[in-house]
């Protein structure tokens, strides 16, 4: 059993210097492409010409703003809670099946990311509406008499958002699960713990760091949501990002939008401080790192227990929930009517025809991939370096830096978009996919930072010291020892970064032009008036391509082994 070396470095000053060198690139990057443009814009919350507090007073006086802020935080908290609850059975499932099945299940978990938000919500509405697939099934089976209102209310918002955001919890939770030493479970069993006690007292605390990383991402992400609540919720679920976007886009009331953003930001930070005080996140993050476990988590040799089977069943149910809207995308993409129904009344290849006919779709895919490539490489390099550097800095600096690096998740994207436009337009770099990719890196870097930081907590520093002692230079040590150890975190961060870039509409609306439109932007066009089923065909194509690539990968890896 190895003892962990304390993370704090006391006597030697050089490591602190190198830690700052690692942190500096991200600080500079965010300073230029995030803080400067965003603060410039937020500054106008105090008036465009002279100093005034009227916008803040208005937010205080007009009740709707308090109400919508409350909506936002309540919905975000509920979504976070739901994501955590439903992710446990899925993570358990992933951790206990064979590697081959696991690969397939991972695809199922990540598939929702590969469809645009518009397609997902449309599919959900068709499944859940009063005369939708689910209600038809339930009434047909005689389980209910009256259709249940699943959408256009709170449940619609919760379903839609949980569906999209869940993978952010599943991935880190899975990583935490497989790091649990199985003998711990056996020890608990031997001491008389049943499945419930094992879950609550052993598995939950040991997976807490993973869950907290995931829940943080989900909560901060939820705060900025507006497409899903607008389409799947009712007016009672108006969220703050909708008001901010409206004030920017429709009403041109930028001062009010900026003031709302500032208030949102302050509330979020306040919630975090309270959360940290109450739950002691820091202790949880550092107190329960896995240490070189001898037996990876798996089901015991007795097979699954009753509780195990129950969890298994829940996991399968959640997976069905995850892919249900994806599955109906295929038949829907073959429907002939532009008014979507399921099952379609007649079939045609009309939308696929559109997809290949019009150059904008394929160009959109190409532009999206270019931007994503830039976004992934920048955010992964900068985020990983910063995460490593941050871990080496003193207890006092760390929380500040972490807050700074996570902030891009909290600021509404529309604020960043407008701020960046003002900064970049005079430089003549608008409309370049690389510019968009850099902007996406700003959005993506917090994800990389969080996931890599979580995986670094479990990294035994003795390994690093051992490698250096054996004569490895730091870069060699990093490549051969540290990187493999934190790879799951880096990979998860890269996936999240890709998705952030691949799904973004708002930045694309401001930073691309007709030649550099990305796929989500092409999909978004015409949305005010109609849903062009071509976007469903596009989603179906993307899903099929993804599946094909993964199938090839599976076949090749099987041949190799």
């Amino acid at each position: 059993m190895s003892e962990k070396a304390p993370m704090k470095i006391t006597s030697n000053k050089r490591p602190v210097f190198w830690a700052w060198i690692a942190v500096a690139p991200l600080l500079v990057f965010l300073g230029v492409l995030f803080f400067f443009p965003v603060l410039s814009l937020l500054g106008i919350s105090f008036g465009e010409d002279q100093l005034t507090f009227e916008h803040y007073l208005r937010i205080g006086e007009v009740p709707i703003y308090r109400r919508v802020l409350l909506n936002t935080f309540v919905i975000s908290a509920l979504v976070t809670l739901l994501c955590v609850i439903v992710s446990y059975p899925v993570a358990y499932l992933l951790a206990t099946v064979s590697p081959k099945v696991r690969k397939i299940l991972f695809i199922v978990v990540l598939l929702p990311f590969w469809t645009s938000a518009l397609v997902r919500t449309t599919a959900w509405i068709i499944l859940l509406q009063r005369k939708g697939v689910l209600n038809d099934l339930l009434t047909g089976a005689g389980l209910i008499d009256e259709p249940i209102a699943f959408v256009y209310n709170l449940s619609g918002v919760l379903i839609g958002m949980t569906h999209v955001l869940m993978p952010f919890v599943v991935l880190p939770l899975f990583a935490a699960f497989i790091n649990i030493d199985r003998t711990l479970i056996e020890a608990a069993e031997g001491l008389g713990a049943g499945p419930y006690s094992i879950g609550r007292r052993v598995i939950m605390p040991l997976t807490a760091p993973g869950v907290i990383a995931g829940a943080t991402i989900v909560f901060l992400n939820s705060i900025g949501y507006y497409i899903t609540p607008a389409l799947m919720g009712g007016p009672g679920q108006t969220m703050i990002a909708m008001l901010i976007a409206d004030n920017i886009n429709r009403d041109l009331n930028w001062s009010l939008a900026a003031a709302l953003s500032v208030v949102l930001l302050l509330c979020t930070v306040a919630i975090f401080v309270v959360f940290q005080r109450v739950f002691g996140l820091e202790r949880l993050l550092t107190g329960s790192a896995s240490r070189g476990s001898t037996a990876k988590f798996s089901i015991g040799n007795n097979g699954r227990t009753g509780g195990g089977w129950l969890t298994f069943a829940c996991g399968v149910a959640v997976l069905i929930f995850l892919i249900a809207p994806i599955l109906i995308v295929f038949p829907m993409s073959l429907g002939s009517s532009p008014f979507l129904s399921f099952p379609p009344e007649s079939y045609s290849l009309r939308w696929f025809h559109n997809l290949f006919e019009e150059a904008k779709w394929m160009r959109g895919v190409f532009n999206s991939l270019q931007a994503a490539a830039v976004a992934v490489s920048f955010s992964v390099v900068l985020g990983t370096l910063a995460a490593i550097g941050t871990m080496r800095l003193g207890r006092r600096m760390r929380p500040w830096l972490e807050t700074v690096f996570i902030l891009p998740m909290v600021i509404p994207v529309i604020i960043l978009s407008v701020g960046l436009f003002y900064m970049l337009a005079p430089l003549g770099v608008i409309g370049n996919p690389a510019t968009l990719g850099l902007a996406h890196s700003v959005l993506a870097v917090p994800y990389v930072f969080i996931t890599v930081r979580a995986s670094l907590v479990g990294f035994d520093r003795n390994l690093e010291l051992a490698a250096l002692n054996l004569g490895a230079s730091w870069p060699v040590m990093f490549r051969r020892i540290m990187l493999p150890a934190i790879m799951p975190g880096v990979a998860a961060g890269a996936v999240f970064a890709f998705i952030q870039s691949f799904d973004d509409v708002v930045l694309a609306l401001f930073l691309t032009n007709i030649r550099s439109r990305t796929l989500p932007r092409v999909m978004f066009e015409g949305m005010v008036h109609e849903i062009d089923p071509t976007i469903i065909a596009a989603s179906a194509m993307i899903i099929m391509l993804t599946l094909t690539l993964l199938a090839i990968n599976l076949i090749l890896s099987r041949r190799q082994s």
């Binding site: 814009l41 429709r250 009403d251 532009p338 003002y422 337009a425 015409g526 008036h529």
Partner: protein, 344 residues
Amino acid sequence: MKTIKTMLLAGAFAAGALAAQAEEMVFASWGGSYQEAISKAWLQPFSEETGIDIIEDTEPEVARIKAMVETNSLEWDVVTGGGSTLMRGVAYDLFEPITEEMVDQSHVIEGAKNEYGVPSEIFSTVIGYSKEAFPDGGPQTFADFWDVEKFPGKRALPDRAATVLEAALLADGVAPTDIYKVLDTEEGFQRALDKVSSLREHVAVWWSSGAQPVQALGSGEVVMALGWNGRFQAGMDEGLDIEMSWAESIAQVGYFMIPRGAPNREQAIKFLNYMVQPEAQSRFSEYVAYGPVTDKAWEFIDDERKARLPSTPERLENAIFMDIAWWADNATSASEKYTQMLQK
């Protein structure tokens, strides 16, 4: 915004300084079948006639127009938008005034004219209803829409105040000419809100995108909806079992604007002149069910197509034009109160 501008523009160079070799013009609208119709009815024939190349862009958000104008990086020569976009832009001085010398609009319907934009089409907010739910005739007036005894079933309404408040007051018996006078008073505004509020429990869908009311009607989620005539028409054309009522409607106007500092201003003016001509105006409705902004266009339109369009003299008789000036003045507070009312 000045602070940002001075901060960010330090050392900036003027964009768009490169003069085009061939004549060209950049047009930006909202994509989808709407932009396709514009392209077929006006952009392509204009381009053929004049030899001016037209580049089409999309999503001319007024926020982006503002940002482009203020950073001197304007890429667009003609942008399109509804009344609220127009008025908002005017408030920030984003659009060029269109004088009689630039574009002759003498033949345009009075209610549609505006100093800063050339009207391109008229569309209406009307009642759409399911024929399946009401085989013996559906709701005709806004009063019918509010009458849940006579016409039971769930409804769909916009999640924003514009047109809903007008419809509510019409349903409450206010004379069409008095609508904005009533809305201007605090009691009158509250009256409209209360009227909407009274219908709340019968509203299943508060829509945010124009596609939603049609989708909801088609799927049976609701039996009637307040929505745009062009969308209902598209649904009917695709065989959805729905119908529109023209007994009352709220007419809105689409506008084409020239942002300040447009790089190809001359070509833009040429195009606007072309688009507003009666013959060109008549062509638009071949592709979408939106009506011409001039009565002179009707002579080029047959009766069958006429039946689909909102701006015939008879229909405008029963319609009120949305007062975009009123909405420009009251948008923020109206939307605050409307959204608040919906929360309860």
